[in-house]
């Protein structure tokens, strides 16, 4: 028993030892400049895996970037770098093993940024810890990005998918959602608001983004809604289906003998549509416009 426990402890220690990775601890001072702006000089202590090159050696690595055109010569290291947001070149000049200066230029969105650094080695470190931290940060960033992309899908706003550079699968998800009754209803009820992000979520823009035919999608969904007796969707999007139902369940009923419970909301909406000048689905429904405008007016009148 004692022997077994010792073996386990030894194995755990070995595993921990095996995971440790030799690294160099550097004090790095960096200044950045871009047209019209110079950022304050920053100093930080970074642990760099032994043998790292290029941006990784400066503690400025980014897993999304790739190096190319690498040139090594005694005391000098130059490279090109390609990142999702832009590309650039860099050069490091070593003064011995413990000091370097570097200059890296990146161009993104038509703007060029220059980063000048100097580094001084101050000791050893365990790079595995840093790698774990970096991995954790990258995982956190990926999770945040996934959340933002998921939110763009949920809110049916294509502009946000583009802004967050979401993976193609999110576009697939968004377009699939726009093709459901709930999603279609959401985008079809939106009115242009003069805001590029919000306006990207209107029916014409979503249809364009997804490459779908809005009318054909509506027809398909109305068929589904008719089979499922989805009165909310029918009332809002399917005038051909709504009219006979309204005639049968709403218009033909007197106020003193109201329609069946399942039709009450439908009939109430129908009444509003008629009052506002159209049959259900005849135009993008804006049932809350009057209420919103009315609220503004009341705020003005009552000062609340």
């Amino acid at each position: 028993m004692r022997l077994t426990l010792a073996a386990v402890l030894l194995a755990a220690a070995s595993a921990a030892f095996a995971q440790a990775e030799p690294g160099d601890l550097w004090d790095v001072t960096t200044s950045m400049e871009m047209p019209g702006m110079k950022l304050p000089t920053q100093s930080q202590r970074v642990c760099v895996p032994r043998g790292a090159e290029g941006p990784d050696a400066m503690g400025a690595g980014d897993a999304r970037c790739t190096m190319s055109d690498v040139k090594r010569s005694p005391g000098k290291f130059s490279f090109r770098v390609q990142c999702p947001d832009g590309s650039g070149t860099g050069e490091m000049n070593y003064q011995g093993k413990d000091r370097y200066t570097s200059r890296m230029t990146m161009t993104a969105d038509g703007q060029t940024m220059t980063m000048v650094s100097s580094g001084a080695r101050v000791g050893d470190c365990d790079a595995s810890t840093v790698k774990k931290q970096v991995a954790a940060i990258e995982a956190q960033a990926a999770a945040g990005m996934a959340q933002m992309c998921g939110s763009a899908v949920e809110t049916l706003l294509p502009a946000n998918l583009t802004a967050y550079q979401c993976e193609p699968r999110y576009k697939t998800d968004l377009c699939a959602r726009a093709g459901t009754k709930a999603g279609f209803q959401t985008v079809a009820s939106r009115q242009p608001a003069g805001n590029p992000v919000l306006d990207s979520g209107t029916l014409p823009e979503v249809a364009k983004f997804c490459g779908i035919d809005a009318d054909a999608t509506r027809t398909r969904l109305c068929t589904e809604a008719g089979k499922a007796e989805d009165l909310d969707f029918i009332g809002a999007q399917c005038p051909a289906l709504a009219a006979p139902i309204a005639q049968r369940e709403c218009a033909g009923r007197s106020f003193s003998s109201p329609p069946a419970e399942k039709y009450r909301s439908f009939c109430s909406e129908y009444a509003r549509e008629l009052m506002q000048g159209g049959a259900p689905g005849a135009q993008p429904p804006t049932p809350t416009d009057a209420i919103k405008e009315g609220a503004k007016r009341l705020k003005g009148l009552f000062g609340r």
Partner: protein
């Protein structure tokens, strides 16, 4: 001799607030018309402030909304236990009727309730003749009261709201008229009754449901009056109170007045709730 009941009038004053509670510093902008097909003319107010309207000054036949003025003039000589007789003319009144026969007699208060709850034209003519001797004299009093109230688009040609050339009012005037009427406890009480149950002196009993279908169907509905004639179309003044807030809807010539009124009322309260967020 007018019988006044200060306490009840004070209570009714709260109802008046529903119509007339002004918005301090309210801008004089015309209310928008987001429901262009609801009626030939309409007005929706929230706590006295005009929220939505269409042609609120337009002179149109008001049908039996007229009877709010009839009731006001009857109250000028309020003797609830007085006996009102039924003339041949009253008994032959057309349209909505209680079913009085010539010679029937009933308490003035009962005739008054029949006027407002069942919109009974026979009771209306009987009351007018009782109050002024004849309908022409009564109508003169109605018009005098309209002028006194500043109802500029309102002219009455008969006491009950039957179609007649020049018998007109406007949504805004009718809102004002309803406000004044609802400040009278007897009117506020009568228009809130869900049904009428009166008996003549001779023992004939009449039971009628209230003409105002909002009562008991729309939460918070507390009155006031509906009307219909071929010339006027379907008309309504409705008051709904929820909490401390009140919405008044005036509809003139509204093809689907009950559904429309219910929707307008809900939308108006929704707008009020939204304005407080």
């Amino acid at each position: 001799m007018r019988v006044t009941v200060p306490a009840r009038r004070a209570a009714a004053g709260l109802l008046l607030l529903a119509f007339a509670r002004g918005a301090p510093g309210a801008p004089a902008t015309a209310p928008p018309d987001p429901y262009p097909r609801v009626a030939s003319a309409y007005l929706v107010t929230v706590n006295g402030a005009e929220l939505w309207a269409r042609a609120p000054e337009r002179a149109l036949p008001p049908a039996s909304l007229t009877k709010l003025m009839t009731a006001l003039v009857v109250l000028d000589d309020w003797r609830p236990d007085a006996i009102v007789g039924t003339s041949a003319r009253a008994a032959s009144a057309t349209g909505s009727r209680l079913g009085l026969r010539e010679g029937d007699r009933l308490r003035l208060a009962d005739a008054f309730d029949a006027l407002l709850v069942a919109s009974a034209n026979d009771a209306c003519v009987a009351l007018a003749e009782h109050a002024a001797g004849n309908t022409a004299a009564f109508v003169a009093r109605m018009n005098a009261r309209a002028r006194a109230l500043g109802l500029r688009a309102t002219v009455f040609r008969n006491p009950c709201g039957l179609d007649a050339p020049g018998h007109v009012s406007s949504a805004r005037d009718l809102h004002r008229l309803a406000a004044v009427a609802m400040a009278e406890p007897e009117i506020a009480r009568a228009v809130a009754l869900p049904a009428l149950d009166v008996t003549t002196v001779g023992g004939r009993r009449f039971r009628k449901p209230a003409g105002n279908l909002l009562l008991g169907r729309v939460p918070g509905a507390v009155g006031v009056k509906s009307g219909y004639t071929r010339g006027a179309g379907k008309c309504l003044v409705g008051l709904v109170r929820r909490g401390d807030d009140a919405v008044v809807v005036v509809l003139l010539d509204a093809p689907d007045r009950w559904w429309s009124a219910a929707r307008l009322i809900d939308d108006a309260f929704a707008a009020l709730a939204e304005s407080r967020r």
